[in-house]
Structures are given as structure tokens and as C-alpha cells.
């Protein structure tokens, strides 16, 4: 059987065996929760609670501020201690609600309202997705209902359920596929109805044979749902790579998957929609992989949103000295600067790097034009030339002649570079500089 794939890409060490066989376990409540109001792409949510107010687990505490925004629900029964600011993972002050849970409060959801999903219209389904505070759980944290609403004049034919999970270390999507298959099927049915698509394809990389088998078994007899198996290669899970590998179609430069009749949703997102939407509950917890050699008890955990990172690290135990903590996977995840920062909806993994596995500060050599980056860039850019231009601050030329803004920062170029040139890091700076200049003009 030939596996679907795309040209270029890389094969980093997966390190998924650390947690792949560990079932999802619940996490205890921390002494306090920090709920950032801007943990999704778009406008921050508007708080509707005041300090000292009692909230119940699952209760709405902040509402969506406009279309590209989602509400936030309380992860535990307790008291609102503060409606103000807190530090985010970057170490920047951000608006937040801080909740102290009652001692001994249960992990039973207390606020919900079940819905009659058989009689929901597509519009009601999409509204329901927004009301539950759903965002893309794969990492982007883009409000899901916005994705499910195609621009006027575009119709959606294919719903791609992304279970590739190409980032090294991460296994949360893998575990969700194994343990929440019924929720996934329910979610797919709801979304198919919501976006009025013809078919749904569950995309899985070949390194998860158990998940492939289970998903195939579950989709038997479902005419609209099928499973597609992809070669294990990073960044297969990127939207642009998925459409090319699956349908041989490119998402136009600067466009959306909807431009070629697709909506792509992470498998964990679909599972949570399938689990929560019928019950009318809000998104208050998510599956997070905690891995890396710096952790004593790596695993897949069901963690309430808003749990502070230092509490999580205390629970799983650190192995000696943590060298670096990453939110997300090591290829595209964000380095954490502040350990009291909370878990947000978009965090699929916490990777704690020990000294040995970390790419420590390496000597940077001049570019020797080995073309490794050119031959690994999944977008077929020329990172070598872009990097040389970046060093000369030729940001405008990068954007105009060398397609800077098509780069989605997968990091393949920096990964392969034998000169250890921080290519993708340069490109981020360049994009920022060009954006600033354009908005000033």
C-alpha cells in the first residue's frame, strides 16, 4: 500500500515511545487557576464575573467578544479571587481571571444543559461550537466556529480530521483516537452536518497503526467517513501538507483551506465537540502530553484549563535540572519563560528537555550553500537565500521576491542546517519588521 505524502520535509527522532502507551489520566486540581482571557486567536473574552463571586465547575465566566472570539468557562467550583492581570508564558502581563477552588471540590461538571442534537440545524451546531468555547486544540487555538463558517460563496466538500500528530514527543492525539473513538465519530457526524460537507477523511500517520485500525473499524458502515494513512514525516500535520498529500491540491498563497473546499480540524477538537456539544458543556479541560527526558512521570493527562505550569511540574516531578520547558512540540512549540503561567486551550504538550537531548547553543558557521534547507522546505522556499538576505536586513526583498509570507514556520530549515543558522527565527523577525512597516505606511 502506498502511503500518501508530500515532497521534502524531515524525519526528526520521534521520541513518542516515552508516552505512546500511557493511557490518559486525570489531574488533581491545583491550589488556584489562572484563566487568561486571550487564550485563543482573536479578541479576548469579556469577563462577566466579579471578585469574590462564587462560580461552579463549567459555569460561564467570560463571554465571546465578537465573532472571532470564544467564551471561557470555570474549570472548578470555587471563588473568583481576582479579575485583573497575570503573566503569560512569554512573561507578559495579560488580562486574566484567577479562581480559587474550594478544598475537596469534585471533578463533576455542575453546569450544563443537554441538547437535542438530532434536531439541530447546521447554524445551531456552529453556534453551539462557539458557545462551548471551542478552539483548535492542535496548537493554533483558532476559534473552531470561525473555521467552520466558510467565506460567502465557498462550499465545503471535504472535512479533514487531522490525526497526523507529526511533532516529535506528542502523543495526545494518538491517545484521544484510541480512547475517545466514539466521541470522534459523534464529532465528525455533527461537523459534517454543520458544514454540510460530503465526506470526512481521518488523516493518520503510519506510525500509529493501532489508531488507524481502530478508526477504520469505527468508520465501517459510515458512508461519508474514511481513513487515510500518511507517511511518517514532519510536517505532515500542517494544513498545506495535508491537502497536497491527500488531494494533490494546494491551498492558494494567502488563502484558506475553504478556497479548495476543505475544512481541517484537529482530531482532539473533533473529539471534544463530540463529547461536549450533546451535553451542552463548555471546554474546561484538555488532553496534554507531558514528556521529555526532564520529567520523572511522563504521560498523557487530562488537565483542567488554567492549571499553573509549576503545579503540573511538581506533580509529574522533574528529573534533576530542567533545561528548557516547551509548550507544544519541540519543532513548533513555544519556549516558556515563566513557570507560573497557566495551561491554555491551545497547549497540546509540555516537553521538558534535559541537558542531553537539547540542542544546546551551537557555533554558527557561515552558510555553505549545502542546499539541505532548500531540499527540506515543505513550501519549496529558498531558506538559504532568505537567510542571507535576512542578515543584510533586506526584509522587503525577502517578502517581495522570495515569498517570505508563505513560510509557516515549521522549522525544517533550522533543523537541518549544518551551519546552525537560526533561519526560521530570522524569518519571524523579518515578517514582524515587514508587518510593522506595512502597517505604518
Amino acid at each position: 500500500m502506498s502511503l500518501k505524502t508530500f515532497a521534502h520535509g524531515i524525519h526528526p527522532r520521534e521520541n513518542k515511545e516515552i508516552t505512546a502507551l500511557k493511557p490518559i489520566r486525570r489531574f488533581p486540581f491545583p491550589p488556584y487557576f489562572v484563566l487568561l482571557l486571550s487564550q485563543h486567536a482573536g479578541k479576548p473574552a469579556k469577563p462577566i464575573v466579579r471578585e469574590g463571586q462564587e462560580v461552579r465547575r463549567g459555569e460561564l465566566i467570560a463571554v465571546a467578544n465578537g465573532f472571532v472570539s470564544v467564551p471561557i468557562h470555570s474549570p472548578a467550583t470555587g471563588v473568583v479571587k481576582k479579575v485583573g492581570t497575570s503573566l503569560d508564558f512569554n512573561g507578559k502581563m495579560a488580562p486574566a481571571i484567577i479562581i480559587i477552588p474550594y478544598p475537596g471540590s469534585l471533578q463533576q461538571v455542575e453546569c450544563w444543559q443537554s441538547r437535542d442534537i438530532d434536531h439541530m440545524t447546521p447554524k445551531e451546531i456552529i453556534q453551539g461550537v462557539q458557545d462551548m468555547g471551542m478552539v483548535g486544540l492542535g496548537g493554533a487555538a483558532f476559534p473552531t466556529h470561525v473555521k467552520l463558517t466558510p467565506p460567502k460563496g465557498k462550499t465545503i466538500e471535504t472535512l479533514i480530521i487531522n490525526g497526523c500528530e507529526c511533532e516529535p514527543y506528542l502523543t495526545s492525539d494518538h491517545r484521544v483516537m484510541l480512547e475517545q473513538s466514539d466521541d470522534i465519530m459523534m464529532g465528525i457526524r455533527l461537523l459534517l452536518k454543520g458544514v454540510m460537507a460530503q465526506r470526512a477523511v481521518i488523516a493518520i500517520e503510519a506510525n500509529k497503526p493501532d489508531a488507524i485500525e481502530l478508526m477504520k473499524k469505527c468508520s465501517e458502515g459510515e458512508k461519508q467517513i474514511s481513513v487515510a494513512v500518511f507517511q511518517t514525516k514532519y510536517p505532515q500535520g500542517a494544513e498545506k501538507m495535508l491537502t497536497r498529500a491527500l488531494m494533490k491540491k494546494d491551498i492558494p498563497s494567502g488563502g484558506l483551506p475553504a478556497d479548495i473546499g476543505c475544512v481541517i480540524s484537529n482530531v482532539a477538537t473533533v473529539a471534544e465537540i463530540g463529547r461536549l456539544l450533546p451535553r451542552g458543556q463548555g471546554l474546561i479541560e484538555r488532553v496534554v502530553t507531558i514528556s521529555g527526558r526532564g520529567v520523572q512521570r511522563p504521560g498523557n493527562y487530562f488537565i483542567p484549563i488554567g492549571t499553573p505550569l509549576d503545579f503540573i511540574l511538581d506533580q509529574v516531578g522533574l528529573e534533576g535540572r530542567a533545561h528548557q520547558v516547551i509548550f507544544g512540540g519541540p519543532m513548533m512549540g513555544k519556549g516558556v519563560a515563566f513557570l507560573e503561567t497557566p495551561i491554555t486551550k491551545g497547549i497540546s504538550g509540555i516537553v521538558v528537555m534535559a541537558d542531553a537531548e537539547h540542542k544546546s547553543r551551537q557555533k554558527i558557521y557561515p552558510c555553505i550553500k549545502c542546499a539541505e534547507c532548500v531540499n527540506s522546505c515543505p513550501i519549496h522556499l529558498n531558506p538559504s537565500t532568505l537567510g542571507l538576505l535576512a542578515r543584510k536586513d533586506e526584509f522587503d526583498q525577502m517578502a517581495e521576491d522570495f515569498h517570505l509570507f508563505d513560510c509557516f514556520e515549521c522549522g525544517c530549515c533550522s533543523y537541518v542546517c549544518p551551519s546552525h543558522i537560526p533561519l526560521v527565527q530570522y524569518f519571524r523577525l523579518a515578517k514582524e519588521a515587514v508587518r510593522k512597516k506595512r502597517s505604518a505606511a
Binding site: G335, Y365, P378
Partner: protein, 340 residues
């Protein structure tokens, strides 16, 4: 909070690397060159050992001196100067006077590399710049050849090797002509098998095609060499010289063209120099095609019997243009569509 967090590292993604570095690549090229040196010493004896030793040490010293002079950290550790030294030595005649070889090495490092900003910025292959200088400065010495497998090769120097500086090298015996010179001037054709295993006279490291191909194969398997370039050069030489041979059988046959002269060493180790060859796959095919065509034309129609050096240097010169013309097709770019 607690001290365990104090020396954490903060950086942006990606947080992983492949673990490959420039010195590792360069060191592997040196490994691939070692058997060639071995065969060269075995074929031509003591003189070649000292020839390669001279170019190697002079190149390293020149690199170090230039770093000191320009107050930059030493770049000897990246092994690129070592490659230049070895390659230059291997392209010279076995009995080449050592003082000339040392001078050529200094020119290679200074004018071929440091002048442009060092590793990564040189437009031309430094070893070939050094050799081009020697070809212009010492046309007699660089075309004075000695026979392979001389009986006393491990005990005595070839008499031109130890020529004093600024003295003319005068060979005492009638030297053996290279296969290409024999073909060009005397219309004598060497046996392809002899060419393949190196039973001929020629430049120190260019005679044995077998060991060069083995070294190249090793690098290509380790993905430290773009296989398209040697393959492209071989194909283009075979095609073009085959065409001429078909038109007039007095021209040398394609296989002879492939295995004679510096073509093997040039195609496998010089044209593939990453810095001076194109970065795009399409570019690599164009570049190697150009070099192959130039080699055949210079050999058949030029005044010189050998043309690999100039062909590669011209290919190097075309590289920036080839890079510009063969930019890869970017994902999602729509023909005549909108541009953001």
C-alpha cells in the same frame, strides 16, 4: 520561585537539531579523500606524499595566518582549508616542485577564499583558483609528468620535486605524457581499464577513477554530496563526446573522455563543492550539464589537452545566475493569480 528554574534556557522553535555540522561534513570529505591520497602515494611514491603534505600544511598555515591578521577566531577547525590543501595537491603533477605548490596554496587561500570573506562566500573553488594561478605562472612545470609505478618511487624523489625556489625545474628523464596529451598530440589512445585503475601518468590524485568513485559514493550515501552534479557531468560528457565520436571516429571515444584527465576528481570532489555550486536540484543539472559540455569542447578544440579546471571555474561563475533562474516553485503559487 526555586533555584531549579534559574538557569533555564529560553529560545524560539525549533528546539531540536539534526546534530550535523559544517566540520562533520568537511571532515567526511577529508575521509573520502584519504584513500585517494593513499593510491596516489602508492602510484607515484615519495614525491606525492610530500607534495600533498606541502599543500595541506601551507593551506592550513595560510588560513590561520589570515585569521590572525584579520583578528578573527581561527577557522582551521572547520576542515575546509584542509580540503582545499588536499585537493590542490592531488591536481598537481607528481613531480611538481614543492616551493611552487606552497605558493599555489597561499594564492588559493588568500585570493581564492579569504579575499571574498572566507568559507561560504568564495565564488570559485579555492583549490582551482590556486591551480589556475600555477597553470599561468609555471606552464612547463605543471605539464611535466612522470611515469606511474617507477621502481624506485619509494626511495627517491622525482628530481623536479626538490627544485629550489625561483629555479626552473629541469626534468632529467623524458617524462611520460598524460593520456589526454598522448591522445591530443600523438593520437595514441590509452586503455580504458588502465585509466580506470590508474595505471597511467597524470596528476597525482587524478589517475585512479575507481578510488575517486568510491569516495564520492561514500559521500553521496551520507548525503554530504549532491549526486546530481557528478552524474550530470558524466552524462553530459558522454553525450557530447559520443556525438563527436559518432560524427568522426578519429575523435576519442566517450569512455576514454570520461576516465581520462582530471574529470573524475573534478566532477566528484571539485564541482560538488557546496559553496560554489547551485542550491536547487534543477540548477545542479544545468550546472553539471554546462561543465560537461565545456570539458569536451576545451579538450577537443582548445589549445590545452585538459579542460576540467576551466570548465568548473566557468560553471562556478554561472552559479549565482543559475540559482536565480531556478528558484523552486513555491507551494500554492497560482499562475497569474493574486500576489500578496
Amino acid at each position: 520561585m526555586t533555584s531549579r528554574y534559574l538557569d533555564m534556557e529560553i529560545s524560539t522553535s525549533p528546539h531540536l537539531g539534526r546534530g550535523l555540522s559544517v566540520p562533520i561534513i568537511m571532515r567526511n570529505v577529508v575521509y573520502a579523500l584519504l584513500p585517494i591520497i593513499g593510491v596516489a602515494v602508492y602510484t607515484f611514491g615519495l614525491s606525492v606524499f610530500f607534495l600533498v603534505f606541502t599543500t595541506l600544511v601551507t593551506c592550513l598555515m595560510a588560513e590561520r595566518f589570515i585569521c590572525l591578521w584579520t583578528r578573527k577566531p581561527s577557522t582551521i577547525g572547520d576542515y575546509s582549508a584542509a580540503i582545499t590543501g588536499i585537493l590542490l595537491g592531488l591536481t598537481l603533477p607528481p613531480g611538481f616542485p614543492l616551493w611552487m605548490a606552497a605558493l599555489g596554496s597561499v594564492i588559493a587561500m588568500a585570493l581564492g577564499k579569504a579575499l571574498f570573506g572566507g568559507l561560504g562566500f568564495n565564488p570559485f573553488n579555492p583549490a582551482l583558483v590556486g591551480r589556475a594561478f600555477l597553470q599561468a605562472a609555471f606552464p612547463t612545470a605543471i605539464t611535466t609528468w612522470s611515469d606511474a609505478f617507477q621502481a624506485d618511487r619509494f626511495t627517491t624523489f622525482i628530481n623536479t620535486t626538490l627544485t629550489l625556489p625561483f629555479m626552473k625545474a629541469i626534468p632529467d628523464t623524458v617524462s611520460g605524457a598524460t593520456a589526454l596529451a598522448a591522445m591530443k598530440f600523438d593520437h595514441k589512445l590509452a586503455d580504458t581499464y588502465d585509466l580506470f585503475i590508474g595505471n597511467i601518468s597524470g596528476s597525482a590524485g587524478e589517475t585512479c577513477a575507481l578510488v575517486i568513485l568510491l569516495g564520492g559514493g561514500y559521500l553521496a550515501l551520507r548525503k554530504m554530496l549532491d549526486w546530481r552534479i557528478p552524474v550530470g557531468i558524466f552524462l553530459s560528457v558522454l553525450l557530447v563526446s559520443g556525438l563527436f565520436w559518432w560524427m568522426d571516429p578519429k575523435n576519442p571515444p566517450p569512455l576514454f573522455m570520461l576516465f581520462s584527465g582530471g574529470l573524475m576528481l573534478g566532477a566528484v570532489f571539485m564541482a560538488t563543492d557546496m559553496v560554489t555550486s547551485p542550491v536547487t536540484p534543477v540548477g545542479a543539472w544545468i550546472y553539471s550539464g554546462i561543465i560537461g559540455v565545456l570539458v569536451v569542447f576545451i579538450r577537443l578544440f582548445g589549445g590545452l589537452p585538459e579542460g576540467v579546471m576551466y570548465a568548473i571555474l566557468l560553471g562556478n561563475a554561472a552559479t549565482p545566475l543559475i540559482n536565480l533562474m531556478t528558484q523552486p516553485k513555491v507551494y500554492g503559487s497560482v499562475k497569474g493569480g493574486k500576489k500578496d
